[in-house]
Subunit: 115 residues, 2 copies
């Protein structure tokens, strides 16, 4: 009696690692840039972030708002010599979420680079 599952005779599947679910709020390139810049540089002004990440006002505002809505970023408004100053900072939730994302990405890098 032939083996009912013919396909099981084909080449045995090689073990291929699964890929973690990357947080889409963080994984998007601009937002990843914002979060990692804030993690590296601490509280940072809108202007500095815009310069460093080479973004337009609109682009930075849109993505910063998405991060704020997700609870990962907070906006701080103040005055510096009577000039309005907008600064961004990571929230604790943002720090935790970024750490988890970086851990997943490190694991993926190790997967993709078998020693």
């Amino acid at each position: 009696m032939p083996d009912s599952n013919q396909t099981s005779l084909r080449r045995a599947p090689r073990a291929v690692p699964s890929v973690p679910d990357l947080d889409p709020v963080i994984h998007q390139r601009v937002r990843l840039g914002i979060l990692s810049a804030l993690a590296a540089g601490g509280t940072t002004s809108f202007t500095d972030l815009k310069t460093v990440l080479d973004l337009t006002d609109g682009n930075l505002s849109v993505h910063a708002r998405k991060l704020e809505d997700a609870g990962y970023l907070e906006v701080r408004k103040s005055f510096a010599d009577r000039t309005p100053l907008t600064e961004y900072a990571l929230t604790e939730a943002g720090r935790v979420a970024l750490e988890a994302y970086l851990d997943q990405m490190e694991a993926l890098i190790q997967t993709a680079r078998p020693s």
Copy 2:
């Protein structure tokens, strides 16, 4: 004579690292999964990739085609016991592009995690 550029008196900008341009063909989550699975497991069947990455046929086909169009992936059609077998493999260009992407991501991780 007051300093003409009043804004220069505001808080000095803290050094914030810039963020590299991540290849959007690779950075998309599913495509990143496909490439890292192929880098880790070598030539892999459509069925195994679909299982490991938990994708639908359509989703895997669409993203594999984008990687193929970019020259990062090649499709190999063969027969295993008269059953059609579709396998994917990284091209050399795909390997080089993935390596560059992983280097950039490692740099970003180090940036986001100042020791």
